[in-house]
Amino acid sequence: MTQTPSQMPAKGDPRIRIALCIFACLAIVPPLLSLVGLDYYTSVVTRMMIYAIAALSLDLILGYGALVSFGHAAFFGIGAYAALFLQTRGITDFFLHLAGASLAATAFALVTGAIALRTRGVYFIMISLAFGQMAFFFFISLSAFGGDDGMSLSRATLFGQELLRSEVTLFYLVLVILVVIFGFLCRLTRSRFGRVLIGTREDSLRMEAIGYRIMPYQMAAYVISAVICAIAGVLIANQLQYVSPTLSSWQRSGEFIIMVVLGGVGNLVGALAGALLTIGLEEALARFSEHWKLWFGMLLLAVVLFSPGGLTRLVERVSGRITGKGDDR
C-alpha cells in the first residue's frame, strides 16, 4: 500500500529511462565530436542543454502549475545581466554569479508574482508578457551595458581558475547542472509540494475545498522556476560570452513555450527533449537553408495540427500501438 499510479514520473517510469538515456548520450558527445574533428559542435550542444534547463523551469509552472508564463525570458535575461553586472564589478566567481542571479530572480519573481498570480488564464498570460516586456525595455535602457546592442563579457572563473575557457569543461559543467536540476524537479514534482501544485492544476476550487490556500504554493513554484531560469541565463552569458536584451525578448519567451509544448507539458522529460530537439533542429536547418525559420515554422505547424500533445503523446501513441495498449485519455 505504498505505491500509487499517477502522472508523476517515478522509478521504473519509461520517461525516467528516456531521460537517463539522453543524459548518457550527452555525456559522450564531446569525446565523440573531437574524435571526428567536429569540436565546434560541442558549444552547440552546450547551448541545447542550457535551453533545456530554461525549458524545465518553465515546465514546472506551465505543466505542473497551469501557469502559462509568456514572459519567462525575463528571468533568462536577469540571470545573464546579473552575471554581466558582477563581472564588470570584478566579481568573476561562477558560484557568486549563480547566487547573484538567484537573488535578483527571486526579487523580480516575488514582485511580479504578487500581481500576476492574482489573475487566471489569458490574463495571466498577458500580465506575464507585460512584465517580460518591462524587463526587456529595462535592459535596453541600460546604456552602461551597451543598451540595444548588449555587451560582451569573459567567462566566469571556477574555484579561482579560468577553467571555463575550455568548451569541454563548460559542457560538462552545464551537463552536471542540467542533471542536478532535472533530478531535483523530478523529486519536487512527486513531493507533497508537487502534489499540491498538480492538484491545483487539476482543480483549484477542489483544493480550496479541502483546506489549501493555493497562492503561497503557486508563488513558491513561480520563484523556484524563476531561479532555475536565471541559472540558465548565467550559463548562456558564459557560453555566448555576450549579453544582450534579446535574451529576454517576447519571442524568446515564445520559444520556451514552444520547447515545452512541443515536447509535451507536465512530465519534465518532454521539456528536456523538446528543448534539445528545438535548438538542434534550428541549428541543423540553419546549416541547410538560410530560410530555416520557414521550414521550422512549417514543421511546428504540422506537429500542432497532426500530433496534439507533443512528442510525449506521439511516443506514447506509437508505443501504445506496438504493445497493444489503448488510449485511456
Binding site: 489573475t119 498577458m126 507585460a130 512584465f131 529595462f138 513555450i257 525559420k293 500542432v304 495540427l305
Partner: protein, 307 residues
C-alpha cells in the same frame, strides 16, 4: 509647450487609431472564438507589403489600396478555412504554438519575396500637405486622414455590432456560443466572416501606415504585442473597450516618450532624468495595463467570465 502637447496628443490619437484597427479584429476573434491569434500582427505586415507592391505596380496609392483590401480578405478566408478552423477546439497552448509557427513562416516568406531591406510607399499627392494646428504648429494631412478613416471605421463597426443582425449574433456569440448555434445560425460561417474581416482590418491598418513608416519584416511583431495589451485593457471581446484602450495606449505611449523625460527633469538632474526617462517611457503602457488589471481584472469593458 501646450501646442507641443496638442501635437503629441494628435500623434498619439493617430497611433491609437492604428492600434484599434489591428486590435478590433483580434478582440473579436479572441472574444467570440476564444482563439489566441499571434499571427494577427503578421497580417498587418502582409497588408503593408501588398500595399507596397500594388502601389508600385499600379503607380497609384488608391488603386494599390483598392487591390490590397480584397487580397487581404481572400487571404483571411484561406487561412481560416485551411488552418485556423482546425484550431478552435484546441487548448490555448496549441493555438499559441500554431500561430507562432505562422508568424515564423510569414515573416520568412516576406523576407524571401520582398527582401529584408525596408520598403517605402509614396504618399498620395492629395494628402501630402499639412494643416495649421495651433500657432506655428502644423499637422500632416495624411495623419489626419488616418484618424478620420479610423474614426469612420470605428463608427461603422459600432453600427454593425450594435444595430444589425450580424452584430447581434456577434454579441450573442461572444457571451454564449451554444446559444447562437441554438438559434440555427451556422456558427462556423460566422467565424469565417469575422476572421476574414479581421484580417482585412489588420491589412488595412498596415496599408495606410505604409507611407509614414518603413515597411519591414519586424513591423508585425511590435504592433502585435501592443494590440494584445489594448484588448486586455479594453476587455477581451469588447470592440468599444478596444477603441478606448487603443486611444489610451496610443496617447500615453506617444506623449510619455516626449513629456516623461521633461517631467522627470523637473525632479531629477538631467543625466538621471534621461536614464530614467529612457527606462520608463517604453514601460508606460505595460504599467498602465498592470494597473488597470489590478483595478478591474477583466479589463475596462470585460465581462467577468464564470469559469
Amino acid at each position: 509647450m501646450s501646442t507641443l502637447l496638442l501635437l503629441q496628443v494628435m500623434n498619439g490619437v493617430q497611433f491609437g487609431i492604428l492600434l484599434f484597427l489591428v486590435a478590433a479584429g483580434l478582440t473579436l476573434i479572441f472574444g467570440i472564438m476564444d482563439f489566441i491569434n499571434l499571427a494577427h500582427g503578421a497580417l498587418y505586415m502582409v497588408g503593408a507589403y501588398l500595399m507596397a507592391t500594388f502601389a508600385a505596380t499600379t503607380g497609384n496609392f488608391w488603386l494599390g489600396l483598392a487591390l490590397t483590401l480584397p487580397a487581404m480578405l481572400v487571404l483571411g478566408l484561406l487561412l481560416e478555412l485551411g488552418i485556423f478552423r482546425k484550431l478552435y477546439q484546441r487548448p490555448h497552448l496549441d493555438q499559441v504554438l500554431a500561430t507562432f509557427a505562422l508568424v515564423l513562416i510569414t515573416s520568412e516568406l516576406v523576407k524571401m519575396i520582398w527582401g529584408a531591406a525596408p520598403l517605402n510607399v509614396p504618399m498620395p499627392e492629395s494628402l501630402s500637405g499639412s494643416v495649421p494646428l495651433a500657432g506655428p504648429m502644423r499637422f500632416p494631412v495624411y495623419r489626419l486622414a488616418i484618424i478620420l478613416a479610423g474614426l469612420g471605421l470605428a463608427l461603422g463597426l459600432w453600427y454593425v455590432i450594435g444595430r444589425t443582425r450580424l452584430g447581434m449574433l456577434l454579441r450573442a456569440g461572444a457571451s454564449n456560443r451554444n446559444m447562437v448555434s441554438a438559434l440555427g445560425v451556422d456558427i462556423s460561417r460566422l467565424f469565417t466572416v469575422v476572421f476574414a474581416f479581421g484580417a482585412m482590418l489588420a491589412g488595412f491598418a498596415g496599408a495606410i501606415v505604409s507611407p509614414i513608416l518603413s515597411v519591414d519584416p519586424g513591423m508585425g511583431d511590435s504592433i502585435l504585442i501592443l494590440a494584445f495589451v489594448v484588448i486586455v485593457i479594453g476587455g477581451v471581446g469588447s470592440v468599444r473597450g478596444a477603441f478606448i484602450a487603443a486611444l489610451l495606449v496610443g496617447i500615453i505611449d506617444t506623449v510619455g516618450r516626449i513629456f516623461g523625460p521633461m517631467l522627470l527633469k523637473m525632479a531629477f538632474d538631467p543625466a538621471v532624468a534621461n536614464q530614467l526617462g529612457r527606462t520608463l517611457a517604453p514601460m508606460l503602457v505595460y504599467l498602465l495595463m498592470i494597473a488597470i488589471l489590478c483595478w478591474r481584472p477583466n479589463g475596462l469593458f470585460g465581462r467577468s467570465h464564470a469559469k
